[in-house]
Every structure is written in C-alpha cells, then in structure tokens.
C-alpha cells in the first residue's frame, strides 16, 4: 500500500504521461456527469494468443485444432460500483458482437456515470425478451437481415440468435463429403416461451460476472479505464465437460449444446486494467 502511494506520487509528478497502469487522475468525481469505460475482449487459447487460421492448439481430449472463426454476443451489461450499487447500461444500447477477425469489435465502449467501478456482469448471448421482440427493435448487430451467411448469428428456421459461433478444423475429425475436417459450434437457445401452452426449450443464456479484483475502474471526465478481459477458447472444450471434436464436430441446436454452454460460461477472466487519459 505504502509503495503504491509513492508510486502514485511519482506518477503525478510526471504529469505529461498520458497512459499509465494505476494513475489517480482526480480524486473527486461528479456522479451526475458521464465518462467512458472500455471493455476489451482478448481472445486467447490457453496460454497463447488466438491466431485465426494459423495457430494450432490442443484440447484436453488430446486433439489438435485450428480456429477459423469466433463470434459471440455480449449483452445486458451491468457495472458494479464500489458503493454496492449497479449501473445498468440502457437495454437498447447494450448489445455487442465480438468478432475475432474484426479487431474494432474487441473493445466495447460504454458511456457511464462517473464513479468507481469494481466489477462487470453481462450475458453471453441474447436475452429471451429481445429474442422475441419486433424486428424494429433488433437493430445493429441484432438485425437478422444484415447478416451474411458466413457470419450468420441467427437461425431463421428456429427463430433465435446464435450466442457463440466457433468454427475450425482438426486433423482428428473424419473428413466430410467435401474432404474437410471441420468443426462447427453454433450455440444458442433462449429457453422458449413461444407456443400455446408456452414451450420450454434449452436455455443456453449465460450470465457472466467478473470482479475487477483489486482494481478500481475510476471513470472521470479525463480518465477512461480500459478493462482487459481474457476469453479462453480452450475452455469451450475443456471444462466441466471434456468435449471431443472428433466425436462432436458439429454442435448446433441440440441437447448436447448445453454441455458446450456450461463449459464456455467459464471462459472469461478479468485480467488487468489500463487507464487512458481522455482529452
């Protein structure tokens, strides 16, 4: 603690520095004013960075694999304050699609009241309410008419969003008729609620809660914390259930998909914080 204070004093004296790791820009803040917090999703595989189409990784089932595509929805974000209250990001602007091949989508920028934040929670996927809303309420990344086949995150025949889409290849997978050894994991399922009487279906909506551990994200008019969150693809296969790609090369809307979702709910980990001084 003492060393930390000295460290801060040192930093303040170097006021020209614009970026630092634990910089106290202003002790006071005005909660009636807004600032920004950034959530950065850094997709990795175990101890290694995720490299699409190139990196070769090994899962707990002993299978080698390469990832060609990773997309997932982050929605319904809530930020936990040091005083125990929560800031709920307005629902209409709380849907984001992280696409590994588009680096801009890795960082989610949120406008929030100034304050001290100690944790975040979000849904990996799309909540059931939004999944059944009128088409006019599904804009941006939720617009089912704005998706290409290659990056489709919506099942047209079984109305609902794909929460996480992970595709790749593995030499252990038997070749398909075209000779490709592909795996395709399209995981969704919002629990149903349609039909008369209402039908319950599998619910793969996962709420993720992350504490910022010993860090406090101090959102100020001149300070924008960037929270670095690790998403470990390996956890999709290695978790409560050890999943073999050779045995399950295709997992979409099926009872087995629940095992995948129960694994990937553990794939996120808060790692560290940067503080970016705003201009």
């Amino acid at each position: 603690m003492k060393t930390n204070k000295i460290f801060n004093i040192l930093l303040i004296s170097f006021a020209s520095l614009s970026i630092s790791c634990h910089k106290e820009v202003q002790p006071e803040f005005d909660p009636s004013k807004r600032g920004f917090i950034l959530l950065e999703f850094d997709n990795v595989v175990g101890t290694r960075d995720l490299e699409l189409n190139r990196g070769v990784y090994r899962n707990a089932a002993g299978e080698d694999f390469t990832v060609t595509q990773l997309l997932y929805y982050v929605s319904n974000i809530r930020l936990k304050k040091a005083d125990g209250t929560e800031y709920v990001v307005p629902q209409d602007s709380s849907y984001f699609l992280v696409r590994e091949h588009v680096p801009d989508t890795h960082v989610i920028r949120l406008s929030v009241p100034q304050g001290d934040y100690i944790g975040v929670s979000f849904i990996l996927g799309v909540d059931s309410l939004r999944s059944t809303m009128d088409i006019s309420r599904r804009q941006g990344v939720l617009n089912p008419t704005d998706m290409t086949r290659e990056e489709g995150m919506y099942w047209t025949w079984n109305s609902g969003y794909i929460f996480l889409r992970l595709e790749g290849t593995s030499p252990q997978i038997a070749p398909d008729p075209a000779g490709n050894r592909r795996f395709r994991y399209h995981i969704g399922g919002f629990g149903g609620g349609f039909g008369n009487p209402p039908v319950r279906t599998i619910n793969n909506i996962k709420k993720i809660e992350l504490s910022f551990k010993r860090d406090v994200a101090k959102v100020r008019s001149k300070s924008t914390p960037q929270m670095h969150i690790i998403a470990d693809v390996l956890k999709v296969f290695n978790g409560p259930n050890t999943i073999s790609l050779a045995q399950n090369p295709t997992v979409m809307f099926s009872p087995f998909s629940v095992n995948v979702a129960n694994n990937y709910q553990h794939m996120f980990e808060y790692h560290h914080m940067h503080t970016v001084a705003s201009r």
């Binding site: 088409i135 008419t145 047209t156 079984n158 279906t201």
Partner: protein, 347 residues
C-alpha cells in the same frame, strides 16, 4: 377520398373491422383488414405495421419477385400458387433453386394474421420473421438478405415503391419484411360456401350438412377446430416412419414427446391444396381419410385421440361417411380467395 375496402363480404354488417384511420388527402390510403366476427382474435399486431395501399402493393411485388432468390427465378409465389390455395400445385415436396428438393410440403398462405407460429414445426413465432427462412434455406431460395436488399436497391422499380410505402426510398430488411406481412395479413380466406352458410346467405346440400355433422361426431373438429379449422397444436397423426423419419416439432423443442409431431393444418381450401401431409405423401382426400380410418402406424408419440379402447388406432369411418365428410370439406373452398385479382401475380 375513396375508402378502399379490399376485403368484400356481402354482409359487412357482420364484419368487425380492424381499421387504421385514414386522413383526408393521404397519398397512401390505409387498408381496412376486415375479419368475420366468428374468427378468433387477430394475433398479428396491425398497430405496429398498419396496412396501407402502397405497403400492400410493395408486399405483393416482393412476393412475386424472383430476385429474392439466388438465381432470380424462385419467388415466394413459385411455391405458393394462388389457384392451389397458395401451395405448390401438385408437388409433394417443393423444389427451389437448381431444382433442389425441400423436405416438406409447402403450406398454404391464408389467414396468416391469426396464427401464432409458422411452419410445419412451428419454429417461427412472428409473421414478420417468417420469410427469412425460405429466402435463406439452401434448398429453397438460397439467398442471403444483404444480397436481396442490394439487388432491390439496384432495381429502379423498388426505391419509388419503398418511398410510397414508407415515406423514404431507403430499402431495409425491416421494411421488406413489414411489406410482405402487409400483403399476407390481407390474404384472408372467409368466403367459402361454408362461410356463406354460417352467415345465413346460402344453404348447404343435405350431403354437405351430413358431412359437417360427421366431421363433428367423428371428432375431426377437436383438432381442426374453430373458424380456422386448426387448434394450432402439434400432433402425431400416425404417419408411417418407413420412408420419412422427419422429427418435426422435436427439432424446435428438443422434447422427446414432440418427436414426429407436426402442425395441425387448416382445412380451408383443402380441396385444392393436394397433396397432403408434411411430406405430401397422400395424393387425394380419399387417401387421407383412409389413413385416418385404418392406416395409422403405432408410434409412441401417436396422439392419444387416435388410440381406441380396443387397442386399434384411428377413427372408424365407413366409405359412405368418408364420402360425406369429403363433400363437407369441399364447402371450405373459397373461390373468391383463389381467384382474387388483388393477390394474383401480374404478367
């Protein structure tokens, strides 16, 4: 200004009209969607998508637009032909682009505003989202929505039509879907001889009346219930799995109890929507009734309504009873709907 009444039934007095008011001098007049009083409440929310003349016309143009498919040839109307009750005339399974064969028989498009779910397995829960499925299905229209929208934007015919329907020429997926819905919600079939009989306008023949009585006595109306002739449930009616193991409703609910169950289809215009069943296996109504009387396979999820105390399956019917029931079913044919120019492809 001239009020457009696009659905004409002789006794307007009986009609409940779900109407959107139309101000004097509107360039794009509203369309009144008129519903007979004996119909169930409308499921589709017209407040969210008021039907207008220009919206309806755009929806119709899109319904018959081949550009919605990858090869430019397969429109919605290709598999949903008016004279066949908007089904694929004579096809057990429909073929899409490159003659690829679908896995299920095309359902009729009629009275869609009253349905809560769509498709044989009920996998779609909003009429607005329904057209996405055939457009993107590789064995149907095999096209992506972004491509469809791009093609429409480049087609000089469409921006002005979108402008008239929605106020600006912008072509979006939401507008495309809302326009198609506007066309489809107006497609109400309620002018069959049976409807006119219900409204006291005509009398049915004695055979038809005996058929109607048998339809109730045999319990057909337990599932083919009400004015829509469907209770909108999903059931297994004992179709043999020998040649087709389509899991039906199970694919949507993943519930074991739903294996091999399919939508109870409406019987309106059933005379012209042959062949029958989700895979079109029966060529005519006689074969259908023969199936119901003695053709049912013993499948664990067979609807209990078909299990008889003596251990046999199906609904006992004599040949004469079947003939009379079919005579009644033909009173559900709505000639006005099947020939209504407002819904017809323009050549």
């Amino acid at each position: 200004m001239k009020k457009l009444t696009i659905f004409t039934i002789a006794s307007v007095v009986f009609a409940i009209s779900v109407s959107i008011s139309c101000k004097q001098g509107d360039i794009n007049p509203a369309i009144e969607v008129q519903v007979p009083p004996y119909f169930p409440p409308m499921v589709y929310d017209l407040q969210k998508n008021p039907v207008t003349q220009a919206g309806f016309e755009l929806g119709k143009a899109l319904f018959y637009e081949g550009q919605l498919s990858r090869d430019g040839m397969v429109s919605c109307g290709f598999c949903h032909q008016q004279s066949a009750g908007f089904t694929h005339h004579g096809h057990d399974l429909s073929h899409g682009v490159d003659d690829r064969l679908g896995k299920r028989n095309a359902l009729p498009i009629q009275n869609m505003a009253f349905l809560s779910d769509f498709m044989w397995d009920g996998g779609i829960h909003d009429l607005d989202l329904q057209p996405l499925a055939p457009i993107e299905n590789p064995v149907e229209m095999d096209e992506s929505l972004p491509n469809v929208l791009e093609k429409l934007r480049r087609n000089p015919k469409y921006p002005p039509m979108f402008q008239r329907a929605f106020g600006t020429p912008e072509i979006t997926g939401e507008r495309l879907l809302k326009a198609l819905s506007q066309f489809m919600v107006v497609m109400i079939s309620a002018n069959s001889r049976y409807d006119k009989y219900l409204r006291g306008q005509i009398q049915l023949t004695s055979d038809e009346l005996r058929g109607l009585q048998l339809f109730k006595e045999k319990g057909c109306d337990k599932c083919h219930a009400g004015a829509l002739f469907t209770d909108q449930s999903y059931r297994n009616n004992g179709l043999s799995l020998e040649f087709n193991q389509d899991l039906g409703r199970y694919e949507i609910t993943l519930n074991e109890q739903d294996k091999y169950k399919f939508r109870v289809p409406s019987l309106r215009n059933v005379e012209v929507t042959r062949p029958y069943m989700h895979d079109g296996r029966f060529r005519n109504l006689e074969m259908v009734l023969d199936h119901y009387s003695e053709g049912m396979a013993d499948i664990p999820t067979l609807d209990s309504i078909f299990r008889r105390p003596d251990g046999k399956r199906g609904i006992p019917m004599t040949a004469e009873e079947k003939r009379l029931i079919i005579a009644f079913l033909k009173t559900l044919t709505d000639e006005e709907f099947l020939t209504d120019k407002r819904f017809s492809e323009e050549h």
